[in-house]
């Protein structure tokens, strides 16, 4: 009986010790990292996967977002392989729908740019060969997201997803650094599909202080080195994209010509697709 009692005491001590140790360990381990922000590592956000496929290990220390090791447009914490090409489009459309819906609910000012805007120009849809969605956001809205909506999960019921799907909004803590020299963190936030690993890159449109100091008033820029004038973006226009309400930059066509050249607005042959004027669709060329 003394044996049982002593083993019980030992057990209790052991457990206490373990607890104490585990309490102490994080403090010990985190001591040099107290200054750094905590990034959402695999263990803290994982859903169905057991292995982390993000490129975290190979990325430089200061890079916050980690693209997957198998494809740059996928988040390796949530996916281990890219989607089959026939499914990708459905997931992308759901991605943009849920993003626009959430931002609208939050009241964040966001608009589509680059390849997504070009798809809008042609037929109000994502171009079939596109594998990502490009959006920008105003500074004020980005601050608001960072303050109140960082690492939030948004659950959506979607056709084709019987249990619904979770989307995560993750803000890069480096978004406060407006310098383009911070080349590892040009993306300020991401809207991530936790089921497929697809995401939307969100960049903040900031005032270009250097250009304004040189006298070019109204100059704007993004950390990914895109430059705009305030009056080319604002006032934003309302339109429709993939059957959802969306905002468009004011001088949309001029911006597209500046970025992609006049042929982009005109050429009906692109990426092994041909634009069918009757159907207003990009039709893949079968025997290209």
């Amino acid at each position: 009986m003394y044996l049982a009692f002593s083993s019980l005491v030992l057990l209790v001590l052991f457990v206490c010790g373990e607890l104490a140790l585990s309490a102490a360990l994080p403090a010990v381990a985190a001591a040099p990292e107290l200054v750094r922000g905590r990034d959402a590592d695999f263990d803290s956000v994982r859903t169905r996967l057991f292995d982390d496929h993000s490129g975290r290990k190979g990325d430089p220390r200061d890079k916050y977002f980690h693209e997957s090791i198998f494809h740059p447009h996928y988040d390796g914490r949530f996916a281990d392989k890219p989607l089959p090409s026939d499914e990708r489009r459905t997931y992308l459309v759901a991605l943009i729908h849920t993003y626009l819906s959430t931002m609208n609910d939050i009241g964040a000012e966001t608009w589509i740019v680059h390849g997504t805007l070009l798809g809008w120009w042609w037929n109000r849809k994502i171009m079939p060969w596109d594998s990502d969605v490009d959006v920008q956001m105003s500074e004020k809205s980005m601050h608001h997201l960072a303050d109140f909506y960082n690492m939030t999960i948004h659950h959506y019921k979607l056709p084709g997803a019987s249990k619904g799907r979770d989307y995560m909004l993750e803000v890069n803590p480096h978004y406060t650094n407006a310098s383009t020299e911070d080349s590892l963190n040009v993306i300020d936030a991401r809207w991530v599909d936790t089921e497929s690993g697809l995401f939307i890159d969100i960049t903040t449109l900031r005032r270009n202080e250097t250009a304004e100091a040189e006298g070019k008033k109204g100059a704007m820029m993004c950390k990914d080195a895109h430059h705009y004038m305030f009056d080319d973006i604002f006032p934003l226009r309302e339109s429709v994209f993939e059957n959802t309400a969306v905002k468009i930059p004011y001088a949309y066509s001029e911006l597209l010509v500046e970025e992609y050249g006049p042929a982009s607005l005109v050429s009906t042959d692109f990426e092994n697709h041909r634009f069918d004027q009757e159907k207003m669709e990009w039709v893949p060329l079968r025997f290209a």
């Binding site: 120009w121 008033k217 009056d231 934003l236 226009r237 066509s253 010509v257 006049p262 042929a263 634009f275």
Partner: protein, 458 residues
């Protein structure tokens, strides 16, 4: 005594040939050598029948039989002789001069004309694998895109059998109310029989935007939407709440804060007037108009603020460009708000517009140009029989469905007043100290231009 020598007729001089019959033994004759350097054949005639005259033994350099190839002088060299002859050299000189003249004519006149013509044409041509402007969905317009003018306002139309009505087109007013009133006074504007159509940009930049709008509303005028109205209409959607302060230029831009300040001064009737402005206004060909030409308009008129891409149907024009364009890329027909883009293929849009309308007007074919609908394509297929092809080569008065139209616009103060056969640019930079210009169109299609000087409000 002259003698013709048959086939060996000498050109300039005819050989003076004298024959003096001599006694036997000696045969002296005067010989005139021909330009060939050979003795004429007649010299060999001996007239032996006159007497016993011997043929001279030493016949000199005439040798019967074959010539010696090695002896240069012995063979008659016809081509060398031809080249040496004056006649040939003269002809050669003429040919060379003609060739040089033709070459310079080609380089200086024909080739540039053909190149220029191709430069205009190439943007229209399909069949080069790529599409052209106007294929894509392009932008949206918040409002009426194409409006047809009220039939009662058309001079010489159903409500105006006497042909007393007039249409008055005025370029960018930009809030210059005093100048507007002065101009209306100068043309004796009578709202009972005259109708004012502004080409947009009636507000912003100038001193009294609200005043101008009130005046336009008062006289029952209308306008097409310009880029400044477009900005205001879009900004009005978010900036109108009473508790929203006018954002400073430091966090927005100079233009944006000015627009916001302007909006604060506007009443609901002003905003409604702005919103009612269509993108394009169509005026049918005036029934009583005759003698179309540079100062007479007998065709359909389309009023827009900045410009149109030729050959593209009105429904397919992008609204942003219709309100902002100043130039077109001549290869792709993509417009730009700039006069000259970085790529460098820009031409003023109205140059290509006029070229195209002229072509349509003269009945030249538009085969090979892009088509914008299946119906149009079917129509073209139908006209491909051999007879139709022949008919299309000959210029004809009617070119099937496409009729030329005149574009009336503003927006480009730098180019100022631009009056051409098929396009009338009426922005004469009033708000920056230029003129405010009106084009008055009467029932017979006659156009009259009137201007007033403006104060510089910049």
């Amino acid at each position: 005594m002259t003698q013709k020598l048959g086939q060996e007729q000498v050109e300039e001089k005819e050989t003076q040939y004298e024959y003096t019959p001599q006694g036997p033994g000696l045969d002296t004759r005067q010989h005139m050598t021909t330009s060939y350097g050979h003795k004429p054949l007649i010299d060999q005639v001996t007239n032996g029948w006159r007497g016993d005259v011997k043929i001279p033994e030493d016949s000199g350099d005439y040798e019967p039989g074959f010539c010696d190839i090695e002896d240069e002088g012995s063979c008659p060299n016809v081509s060398r002789d031809i080249v040496r002859s004056r006649r040939f050299r003269r002809m050669l000189a003429l040919v060379v001069v003609a060739a040089i003249l033709a070459y310079y004519a080609w380089q200086a006149y024909l080739r540039p004309r053909l190149l220029e013509d191709w430069e205009f044409k190439e943007g229209f041509m399909s069949g080069r694998g790529n599409g052209t402007y106007g294929m894509a969905r392009s932008g949206d317009f918040d409002g009426t895109a194409i409006k047809d003018i009220d039939a009662a306002l058309v001079p010489g139309g159903k409500a105006d059998h006497d042909g007393k009505r007039r249409l008055v087109f005025i370029g960018d007013i930009h809030g210059c109310k005093k100048e507007l009133l002065h101009l209306l006074d100068k043309i004796d504007f009578d709202s009972a029989k005259d109708h004012l159509i502004a080409t947009g940009d009636v507000v912003s930049k100038g001193p009294d935007s609200a005043g101008v709008l009130d005046e336009l509303i008062r006289i029952g005028a209308e306008s097409v939407r310009g880029n400044h109205e477009d900005r205001l209409v879009e900004a009005a959607k978010t900036m109108l709440d009473d508790d929203v302060d006018v954002p400073s230029a430091a966090i927005t831009s100079k233009g944006s804060s000015k627009d916001a300040a302007l909006l604060k001064h506007m009443k609901p009737r002003h905003l409604r007037f702005l919103h009612d402005m269509p993108l394009m206004l169509r005026i049918p060909a005036l029934p009583l108009a005759k003698h179309p030409g540079k100062h007479h308009i007998a065709e359909e008129i389309t009023v827009i603020h900045a410009g149109l891409v030729p050959h593209v149907p009105l429904e397919k024009q992008d609204p942003y460009f219709v309100m902002n364009m100043r130039s077109i890329d001549h290869k792709t027909h993509v417009p730009s708000a700039l006069h000259e883009t970085k790529k460098g293929n820009s031409k003023p849009w109205f140059n290509i517009w006029n070229w195209y309308q002229d072509r349509i007007d003269r009945g030249r074919s538009v085969d090979g140009f892009h088509v914008y609908s299946y119906a149009e394509w079917l129509g073209k297929q139908a006209s491909h029989g051999w007879f139709e092809k022949v008919r299309h080569v000959l210029p004809s008065k009617h070119n099937d469905k496409v009729t030329p139209q005149v574009a009336v616009y503003g927006h480009d103060s730098k180019m100022g007043l631009q009056l051409h056969r098929w396009s009338k640019g009426l922005d004469s930079a009033c708000v920056s100290g230029g003129h405010l210009t009106a084009m008055v169109l009467d029932a017979k299609g006659k156009t009259e231009i009137t201007s007033v000087k403006c104060k510089n409000y910049k």
